[in-house]
């Protein structure tokens, strides 16, 4: 996929120098800072931060444990609600979740407790001799999980805890999903994502089969027949298309594909890097893409969005990151045409300016052109091949692309559950996916138990 950029110059500098550009975006708290910050927590009752957390972490309790010098206890408080507590501490948009809800945001203080950094402190400093969660007695049941991303692995871990065996089917070479392939490198640097997966798997009872893709060499009908339940955590593997001619031209690429390559690159100096680039979209992926290009040495990176700042799905915090990296943000411009040079390669893009009229986005009839050596699409993801070609998966009720589920993450097909980005309503948040996986595991457990009871001869 990144082959379409091979005509571009390579990143300047050595791998090690470039790696330094991808150090932690937010450095961890020192012990002293953690002590000071944890002392700021008011230990609220029925705390709004906990209510704002999709996984319901008891924030006040874990922070009090940090303050009392019980870091292992703090980590357990986090992990029992969210086994991806380490990744979420780094990638959660806390500014719209727990930290937004913190009572210390109140007008007179306007400074929330740094919950994300404290969560990271607890997870980073916990020292467990063994996996901290025990498995319940074996139930003799085995559940299939499709997709080893945050939703699938969260589900697998909880099922393992409840005494079930789990087989996870993963299309790629590594587990972790977007934590491994999709998050900006400076948010989850190094091999953190793999270490977290290893930690999670150390509970036991979870087998992962790699290179298994739903609809290709894996059939939902077969899983459904063979396993006691199936959980689909297949994400949204396909990048949306602009629907313009020239979309397959050299120089045009989906942002997620470049990010995945960047994250897996053994040698950053071997990456093609455009001198001037356009990123289309206004979500957190668009910002991750634009900022990483800047860190790789791109001179001009312009994010283009067809609406205004207020409609951007990227959080204010993310937009600030883009600004501090001197990413140009062009609003009110809709992609119109990919401009190609004589060799058929991307040389820029033509946009039509837009505005709102009576609440509707309309084209104004004026045009702009932005020169660029590469264009990256970050306009959202859609359902990948798997669920679209698998005969049984095609039968699942959908809302647009997304699979419809009930409050217990059950699909329309009994025994098949789904969660994470592939379901409606998903929020495209890691923490939300983790919660889906956890809730689905509890639902699977309950359903299996009650089915067993129903089958009991009376």
């Amino acid at each position: 996929m990144i082959e379409t950029l091979l005509h571009l110059p390579l990143a300047e500098g050595t791998h090690s120098a470039l790696s330094d550009c991808f150090a932690d975006l937010a450095p961890p708290l020192t012990m002293r800072q953690a002590a000071i910050e944890s002392a700021r927590c008011l230990y609220c009752y029925d705390a709004p931060c906990t209510r704002a957390c999709p996984t319901g972490i008891d924030v006040a309790s874990f922070i009090r444990n940090i303050h009392d010098g019980n870091v292992d206890g703090a980590a357990i408080t986090i992990l029992k609600q969210n086994i991806f507590g380490g990744a979420c501490a780094r990638v959660c948009p806390t500014e719209i979740l727990c930290e937004d809800a913190c009572v210390r945001n109140h007008d007179i203080e306007a400074q929330p407790v740094k919950i994300g950094l404290l969560q990271r402190h607890a997870i980073d400093h916990a020292q467990f001799d063994a996996h901290p969660f025990q498995r319940a007695a074996g139930t003799g049941k085995t559940v299939a999980v499709v997709g080893a991303g945050p939703a699938g692995l969260s589900c697998a871990h909880r099922l393992a805890m409840l005494g079930h065996d789990v087989v996870v089917f993963e299309a790629r070479d590594k587990a972790g999903g977007l934590n491994e392939y999709g998050i900006a490198k400076y948010k989850l640097p190094g091999d953190f994502a793999q270490r977290e997966v290893e930690f999670l798997l150390s509970i036991g009872g979870i087998e992962i089969q790699y290179g298994r893709t739903l609809g290709v060499d894996l059939q939902l009908a077969e899983l459904h027949a063979r396993y006691d339940a199936v959980f689909l955590g297949i994400g949204l593997a396909a990048s949306r298309q602009l629907g313009l001619t020239g979309e397959d031209a050299p120089g045009l690429l989906a942002a997620v594909d470049y990010i995945a390559t960047l994250r897996q690159a053994g040698d950053l100096a071997a990456l093609p890097v455009p001198r001037r680039a356009i990123v289309i979209g206004a979500g957190n992926t668009a910002i991750d893409m634009a900022v990483q290009l800047k860190r790789l040495g791109a001179e001009e990176v312009t994010m283009v969005y067809r609406r205004g700042f207020e409609s951007m799905s990227a959080t204010g915090h993310e937009i600030e990151i883009a600004k501090t990296h001197f990413v140009r943000i062009r609003t009110w411009a809709a992609p119109l045409e990919v401009l190609l040079d004589d060799g058929g390669r991307v040389r820029g893009m033509r946009f039509e300016e837009t505005c709102l009229q009576d609440g509707r986005l309309i084209a104004t009839g004026s045009f702009i052109e932005i020169a660029a050596d590469a264009v990256f699409k970050a306009i959202g993801q859609g359902m990948g091949l798997g669920a679209l070609v698998d005969p049984l998966a095609q039968e699942l009720a959908r809302n647009g692309d997304k699979i419809m589920v009930d409050a217990h993450l059950r699909t329309a097909l009994p025994g098949v559950y789904a969660g994470g980005d592939c379901i409606a309503p998903g929020q495209d948040l890691t923490v939300q996916a983790v919660q889906h996986g956890k809730l689905a595991a509890l639902a699977i457990h309950n359903d299996i138990q009650s089915n067993a009871e129903a089958a009991w001869p009376t």
Binding site: I36, L42, D46
Partner: protein
Amino acid sequence: MADLSIDFCGIKSPNPFWLASAPPTDKAYNVIRAFEAGWGGVVWKTLGEDPPAVNVSSRYSALHGKNRDVIGFNNIELITDRSLEINLREIAAVKKAWPDRAMVVSMMLPCEEAPWRELLPLVEATGADGIELNFGCPHGMPERGMGAAVGQQPDLIERVTRWCKTYTRLPVIVKLTPNITDVRAPARAALAGGADAVSLINTINSITHLDLDRMVAYPIVGGASTHGGYCGAAVKPIALNMVAEIARDPATSGLPISGIGGIGNWRDAAEFIALGAGSVQVCTAAMLHGFRIVEEMKDGLSRWMDSKGYENIAAFSRKAVPNTTDWKYLDMNYQVIASIDQDKCIACGRCYVACEDTSHQAIAKLITAGPRGEGRRYEVKPADCVGCNLCEITCPVEDCITMVPQASVQPYVNWTQDPRNPRAQVVAALE
């Protein structure tokens, strides 16, 4: 500007802030630095008989708050470990150089007449303004029959005080220990012995915390520890009560009091003075922050006095004493009810859980709908509120919860008059 100067039982001082007898007043170097910083007086660290005391290492420990702020402080240091001769020479020199500052010399000697008779003239010869009898040191010295061992026996207090009044013309301040059941007994004994004033409190027997790995308390000396004397902000409430007890005891109500115990700012000082103190002594706050703190203490006290129209210390001294009484004289018909300022409330829920779990279930938790999801609103249930102040205390926002006095149609009735008191008539008869 308010006049901060005082005349405390004949001892004059440009302001009421004295450094208490302790490490900060151990030697000339420190005391000169203190006077340069603006302290009104010092009580020189306790002199004893030669050979001087010998101290151990380590000596202090503390109770820390959430951000390592020192709430309480504990020490096992003894009286001066320097010779009498050096101390007397330095006292004389410093007093000569700083004639306007109060120089009080703390003393601790065995309960025998001879040492007092010999030593007191030597102290008087330094030009010091007064002496303070250390009947309070709770660690080390009581094991040798001195310090708190004397302060816990009123007859010894009276006897030693009388010797001092016999052998010196200097004002005698008796420093009391709080490690007793009723502080009025030693105060009355001091007065009976002729004391010109009392000072209190000395430190409280204490162990601040332990090393749970080594299973030994702090401060650690070798592999062991011993109880120390507790001071700092944590002891202020205990000290204030003891000062008030003496100030409102008819037997000692005229006795000057030098207030000691957790004074760290001008407000603390004003509270001690309002409850009966004529001067205040500070130690822990200076040990934690240095002598410079007296600057803010003087400035704060002076500005507050100006704002209240108090021209001098005497103008508000003892003003809170008449309002400090026995429980039985409190108005049974008085009622306050909590009120939450919803504009200031940050919905932390602390008042709710405190009242719900441990008090009177007088705060309601309401679920509200808002543009950004559901929220919480906490409201007082006036009919269930007994006015205990717990919610106001646990609230993290200043002035968010206030206790509002209710207009009472009932006249003042205290417990001795209250019809609900089965012994009211008996009590009334006894009064």
